[in-house]
Symmetry: C2
């Protein structure tokens, strides 16, 4: 298991309710890939969304986001933290 930060670049105007709904859609299916989405941060002005997760690998993160209907544009493993 590692920690991952992924980025979505096209969620301009995202509201609190929409982000909560999108995050819940991940949570609903994340166990099927052994992923644990911990937190999401969004900037409605730019459309950037950052998601932090624990997962066996980056592809598992990608698959959950894809199946939940909001594929990630970038996924990075972030093993170094401070």
């Amino acid at each position: 298991m590692g920690e991952f930060m992924d980025i979505h670049r096209s969620m301009k105007g995202v509201t609190q309710d929409q982000l909560a709904e999108a995050h819940q859609a991940d949570l609903d299916i994340q166990d099927t890939e052994g992923v644990n989405f911990k937190k999401a941060w969004a900037d409605p002005d730019s459309g950037m969304v950052f998601c932090l997760s624990e997962a066996p690998n980056a592809d598992a993160v990608r698959r959950i986001h894809e199946r939940a209907g909001h594929p990630a544009d970038e996924v990075y493993e972030v093993p170094v933290q401070a």
Copy 2:
């Protein structure tokens, strides 16, 4: 005060010690701009670093990172969270 996620794109190969040192350099001067750097996540393979902070505005975040010697490439306010 708001919450901000900023990105550095050029820290390829960053080690745990180097990230801790860079983060500490922010912490040492952040009070001068009313910023609170809460966490940093790094991917040494891609060189991507993500920093989460509380700050009065994005420019305050930029100024601390610049003065600490590692200017941010992008800064986003992230008021929507899940």
